[in-house]
């Protein structure tokens, strides 16, 4: 056993792993933001609120419908995604001709409404949600005790991130999507229903947030403000990575999770701010972001 900067290497491995777990959430959320931004050119401020809705939906399914975690993991993204589709049809659609900032303002308003309604109905102290029985307990890895559920979080979010990347970058559907972003009129001329594609893309991005919410329910507090705490950090992640590429969003998410994890060991006082500081440095050196193309 050796030490790095006075911290035993064993403890360090543990912290790296934990950073990766938190990075999973950053990756899932910034991926959703990037997908939505790519297609709609809107920054979805309600993303955090939709993530929170995912966690609450899992709670409701368990307590009122008797449907366990695994059902929630499949059903909730569809439910919250459908909610996203409704929002896009009712509100966002009217804004595409205006400045993009209006999209930000509108989704900010929606975030306030959603968070406020949940806070009024469920208080803010949070609701309990158990780790599913099949994933309880953990493995002793020698350098740390890794709860099974946390291992599952890494695996599941990697799977979802990679399949999303694959669909968008490597399939025909993805090719259409990317083409529609570049030149909607032309794609429409090929007989593709672009508005519907936009609607579904927004729904998909929201579903990703909801998926992250279900994943978070058993380990974090299911509370109305769980999303707003996270979303601003995720914005910084997105600025660092640049929203130009799907892969960039994923890599930055995991990477920053690890960096934040290490900060918690070496300088815990800065663990809340480290991502913002990195953002400032990246802006100085590479204003377009690590993976961004200069607009």
């Amino acid at each position: 056993m050796f030490e790095i900067f006075g911290i035993p290497s064993q403890a360090l491995f543990g912290q790296l792993l934990i950073g990766l777990i938190n990075g999973s959430f950053y990756a899932l959320l910034s991926l959703g933001l990037a997908v939505i931004f790519g297609m709609l050119n809107i920054i979805n401020f309600a993303h955090g609120a939709q993530y929170m809705m995912g966690a609450f939906a899992a709670f409701f399914l368990l307590n009122y419908a008797g449907l366990n975690y695994w059902f929630a993991l499949v059903l909730v993204p569809f439910m919250v995604g459908a909610f996203g589709v409704v929002i896009e049809r009712l509100f966002l659609q009217r804004l595409y001709k205006l400045d993009h900032l209006y999209g930000l303002l509108l989704t900010f308003g929606l975030a306030l409404i959603i968070e406020g309604v949940f806070r009024n109905n469920f208080g803010s102290s949070g609701l309990p949600y158990r780790v599913p029985p099949t994933l309880q307990g953990g493995q002793n890895l020698g350098f740390m005790f890794l709860p099974n559920y946390r291992a599952w979080v890494i695996v599941a979010s990697l799977l979802v991130c990679i399949s999303t990347w694959y669909v968008i970058e490597r399939t025909r559907l993805g090719a259409n999507l990317r083409a529609a972003t570049e030149n909607p009129t032309l794609v429409r001329a090929f007989g593709i229903n672009v508005p519907r594609m936009i609607t579904l893309t927004y729904g998909f991005g929201v579903a990703l947030a909801a998926f992250a919410g279900v994943m978070a329910a058993p380990i974090y507090n299911v509370s109305p403000q769980m999303g707003s705490h996270l979303i601003i950090v995720v914005f910084a992640v997105v600025v660092i990575g640049g929203m130009g590429s799907i892969l960039g969003a994923i890599v930055t998410g995991f990477g920053l999770g690890v960096i934040e994890g290490l900060t918690k060991v070496f300088f815990p006082e800065a663990s809340n701010t480290v991502i913002f500081i990195i953002m400032a440095i990246v802006l100085l050196i590479r204003p377009a972001g690590l993976f961004g193309r200069r607009a």
Binding site: I43, D99, L101, Y102, L104, N120, A280, A295
Partner: protein, 322 residues
């Protein structure tokens, strides 16, 4: 920001300046007699926020830059003013100036980072930087963390005017507000302001005309931060308190709401918006968290149906400039 935000109705220059002067006189008269009918502390709060919203509007309404982190300047100025008055025993006027100065410096730092990106990125960067400074405020010993800086003395203006007297306090707040308001008006209508508007309408063209737009944007950002700081410092002295609420992100959202409700890119819009929002918070205080929901609904309604805001709509109907 596209033209959608600011309907340019192109009225004759003379009528426009006359309507603005008339509206200004009405506003001053209203503010002078208002304490007869309305709880003075409420008025002072509204005035502080009105100045804050005017400062914000300078940036969004006239340069087209959406800063989602203006709580940073408002809140940190209120901390510095409160600390200067309490721990260093500054006179109120110097305490407020110290706050405004701090905000200006912070604006210079944050602004020079943020203007490296445009549009939505700019908004996200300002928000992230503000959140970073929020966390500093939570941890830093001198801010008192969650407790904030309390029991800040109002003290004596210039050493002899007792600000514990509500009349004197109101007079000072009114004077600061009017001074800030007139200065912002002057900036908007100076040649400098014309360049800002040109950047708002079409930055590329402004660049091709030979303007170093980055520099103009930065100066506007710093000015806006400074005025926001002036408002924050004043608020700290009035309420004898500087707290985390003033640096937290909902405060940044609130000031956007004020400008939006009143009318972006109008001179009086932010003032009206601030009064509406503060009144709403005050009279809905019993509704507790529903205030958040109502604010959200207003946001959505403004963006979808009411993009000109109250004053913008009014000006449009009357075909005048306000």
């Amino acid at each position: 920001m596209t033209t959608a935000a600011t309907p340019v109705t192109a009225p004759a220059a003379q009528t426009s300046s006359r309507s603005v002067v008339a509206a200004f006189v009405v506003m001053v008269v209203l503010l002078l007699i208002a304490p007869v009918f309305i709880y003075p502390l409420f008025l002072m709060k509204a005035l502080c926020f009105a100045l804050f919203a005017c400062a914000f509007n300078l940036l969004l309404g006239y340069v087209g830059l959406l800063s989602f982190g203006h709580a940073l300047y408002f809140g940190w100025a209120s901390y510095v003013s409160a600390y200067a008055a309490k721990a260093w025993g500054f006179n109120p006027e110097f305490a407020i100036l110290a706050g405004a100065l701090t905000a200006t410096v912070l604006g210079l730092i944050a602004g020079s980072l943020a203007i490296r990106r445009q549009g939505i990125y700019f908004a996200m960067i300002t928000l992230a930087l503000a959140q970073m400074m929020y966390f500093f405020a939570v941890q830093a010993p001198f801010t008192g963390g969650e407790d904030g800086i309390q029991a800040v003395p109002r003290g004596y203006l210039f050493g002899f005017i007792n600000l514990n007297d509500p009349v004197n306090m109101y007079g000072l707040v009114l004077a600061i507000f009017l001074a800030g308001f007139l200065m912002i008006y002057r900036i908007i209508h100076s040649p400098f302001g014309e360049v800002l508007k040109a950047i708002r309408e079409n930055e590329t063209r402004a660049i091709s005309l030979g303007y170093k737009t980055e520099r103009y944007k930065l100066v506007a950002f710093v000015l806006s931060a400074g005025f926001a700081g002036l408002a924050g410092g004043t608020k700290a002295i009035v309420f004898q308190l500087a707290s985390l609420t003033d640096v937290d992100w909902p405060m940044s959202g609130e000031v956007v709401l004020m400008a939006l409700v009143g009318g972006l890119g109008t001179v009086f819009g932010p003032v009206v918006g601030a009064v509406v929002v503060v009144a709403m918070q005050n009279y809905l205080a019993q509704a507790g968290q529903w205030v958040l929901v109502i604010q959200g609904v207003i946001f959505v309604a403004c963006v979808l149906l009411f993009r000109r805001g109250i004053v913008g709509e009014l000006a449009n109907r009357l075909r005048i400039k306000l």
